[in-house]
C-alpha cells in the first residue's frame, strides 16, 4: 500500500545520521523531525535564523519572535542559537548543513528539481530553496509519486521552471525510494505491498531496476 505522508517522513528519518545538521522544508519534510532516532544527535536549522529547534511550544507558551521558516511557532533546545539571514545562508551556501530535505512538484532523472512556480497559475516564490539546492551536497526530496491528476512527478525533464539543476540525490515518495544516478532513477526500495510494476507505471523518467527490489523497512 502507498505510504502516508507520515510514513514517507518516517522512512526519510532513517537517512538522518548522528551529528547531522539538517534543514527541513515545509510540508512532509517538517514531519521528519518527529521520527528521528532518539539515540542520535541531530540539530535542525531553519533558514529564518535558528539552529537547535525543538518541538512546538506548549499551548500558551508560543512566542511571535520564535518561529521557523514555515512561520510556525517553535521552541529551542539547549545549545540553540539565533542569527541573521545572511549568516543563515552562510551556513547553507558554505555547506555546513549536512542534509536538506524538501518537497517538490517535479524531479527529473538528471536530478533537476522544480518546486516554486506554475506559470500563470501559482507563484509563491522560491524562498530559501534555490540557495539550498544550489549548495547542499545531500538533498533528499519528499513528495507524492504522482500529482492529483495521476501524472508522474518523476520525469525525464521537468516541465515547470527549475529550482535547481542536477542537485537531487534521493527521492522518497509514497511508492518508492529512488536514487538519482547518471542513468536515471535507480529504484532502491518499494513501499510495503507496492509492486515494481506499479512504480514503473507511475514513473515517466528512466527507471533503473537491478535485481529484486526490497520492501522498505521502518
Amino acid at each position: 500500500m502507498a505510504l502516508s505522508k507520515e510514513q514517507i517522513a518516517k522512512r526519510i528519518a532513517k537517512e538522518v545520521k548522528d551529528g547531522y545538521y539538517v534543514n527541513l522544508g515545509i510540508g512532509i519534510p517538517t514531519l521528519v523531525a518527529n521520527f528521528v532516532r532518539e539515540d542520535i544527535n541531530v540539530e535542525f536549522q531553519s533558514e529564518n535564523g535558528v539552529l537547535g529547534m525543538g518541538p512546538f511550544p506548549f499551548e500558551g507558551e508560543e512566542d511571535p519572535d520564535l518561529i521557523n521558516a514555515g512561520k510556525q511557532t517553535i521552541t529551542t533546545l539547549p545549545g540553540a542559537s539565533f542569527f541573521d539571514s545572511a549568516m543563515s545562508f552562510s551556513m547553507i551556501r558554505g555547506q555546513h548543513v549536512d542534509l536538506t530535505i524538501l518537497g517538490a512538484m517535479e524531479v527529473s532523472e538528471l536530478g533537476d528539481i522544480a518546486n516554486w512556480k506554475i506559470p500563470g497559475v501559482m507563484v509563491k516564490g522560491m524562498g530559501g530553496a534555490m540557495d539550498l539546492v544550489a549548495s547542499a551536497d545531500n538533498i533528499i526530496v519528499a513528495m507524492m509519486h504522482t500529482n492529483k491528476a495521476g501524472e508522474s512527478k518523476l520525469l525525464k525533464k521537468c516541465t515547470l521552471p527549475l529550482t535547481g539543476v542536477g542537485c537531487v540525490k534521493k527521492v522518497v515518495t509514497n511508492l518508492a525510494v529512488l536514487e538519482i544516478t547518471k542513468n536515471g532513477f535507480q529504484l532502491l526500495e518499494r513501499a510495503p505491498g507496492v509492486s515494481v510494476e506499479e512504480i514503473v507505471d507511475a514513473t515517466e523518467g528512466n527507471l533503473i531496476i537491478n535485481g529484486k527490489i526490497p520492501e522498505m523497512v521502518f
Binding site: V50, I67, K71, D84, S85, A86, R93, V123, G125, T163
Partner: protein, 233 residues
C-alpha cells in the same frame, strides 16, 4: 556618542517620496517594522518599490500597502501567504521580482558593506539567472548578483540605545541586521529604547553607525501566522 533618537514615527519617516525604493526587515510577520508600515500607509506614498522577504498577509504587514495599491514593485523571496498579492501579481498590476532568499540577504549585506557585486550559486540554471552573468569557479557555476540600492531601510529591533546600537530577539532578527546601513537612511523602531551605556557593547548586534534614526515603537501586535502548539500531558 552620536545621538540618533527621533521623537516619533512621523519624524522617523520624514523624506519618503513617491517612487522610492524601501527595504523592510522581517520574516513573515515576525520582526516587521509595524509602526513604520502604518505610517507609510497613512502618508499614502505610492509607486513604491519594496524589498522584503515576504509581503505580509492580506490585512497586516506589507499587505496593508498592497491593499491600498501603494506598491509598484515587490522584490521578495516568498509571497505565498497573501491572496491580494497573488491577484495583483497574476493580473499584472504588480511588478514582482522573486529572488532566492540567501541572495536577498546578501544583496542587503553587500549594500551595507560596500561590495558592488558577488558570485553566488543560488539560481544557476534557473530563470533567476536569465540575463545575468554566470561564471565557473573551481568547477562549479555561479551567478553574479548586485548590491541593492535603496532609499530607506525600515528596521524593527528589540532593544536599542540612543546611539543607535541594536539588539534583536529570537528569529525576529532575520533580515533586520542585514538591512541596517544598506539604504541611504536606516530607520529603526524598538520595543525598548535605552540610554547609551545600557547595552553591553559585547552584545550589540548592530552598531549605531549603521543607523540614522531610532524611535520608541508603540502598540505592537506581533501577529502569529501559524500557531502550532503541543498539548500538555
Amino acid at each position: 556618542m552620536i545621538r540618533k533618537v527621533v521623537p516619533n514615527v512621523t519624524q522617523a519617516c520624514q523624506g519618503i517620496k513617491n517612487g522610492m525604493t524601501l527595504m523592510f526587515g522581517g520574516f513573515g510577520l515576525s520582526g516587521i517594522p509595524e509602526n513604520a508600515i502604518a505610517q507609510i500607509v497613512k502618508l499614502n506614498k505610492n509607486h513604491l518599490t519594496c524589498i522584503s522577504n515576504n509581503a505580509g498577509v492580506d490585512d497586516f504587514g506589507l499587505g496593508l500597502l498592497l491593499q491600498k495599491k501603494q506598491i509598484k514593485k515587490m522584490i521578495s523571496s516568498y509571497v505565498g501567504e497573501n491572496a491580494e498579492f497573488e491577484r495583483q501579481m497574476l493580473s499584472g498590476e504588480l511588478d514582482v521580482e522573486l529572488i532566492p532568499q540567501g541572495t536577498l540577504a546578501q544583496r542587503c549585506q553587500a549594500a551595507q558593506g560596500g561590495f558592488p557585486a558577488f558570485y553566488t550559486p543560488a539560481g544557476y540554471g534557473t530563470e533567476v539567472a536569465e540575463g545575468k552573468e554566470t561564471r565557473e569557479f573551481n568547477g562549479k557555476w555561479y551567478v553574479l548578483e548586485k548590491a541593492f540600492e535603496a532609499d530607506f531601510a525600515f528596521i524593527k529591533a528589540w532593544k536599542g540605545d540612543e546611539a543607535g546600537n541594536l539588539i534583536f530577539k529570537g528569529t525576529a532578527r532575520n533580515f533586520n541586521p542585514n538591512m541596517c546601513g544598506a539604504a541611504k537612511i536606516t530607520v529603526v523602531e524598538v520595543e525598548e529604547l535605552l540610554p547609551a551605556g545600557a547595552l553591553d557593547p559585547n552584545q550589540v548586534h548592530i552598531p549605531g553607525i549603521f543607523v540614522q534614526r531610532i524611535f520608541q515603537g508603540e502598540n505592537y501586535e506581533k501577529r502569529i501566522e501559524q500557531l502550532t502548539v503541543r498539548k500538555r500531558n
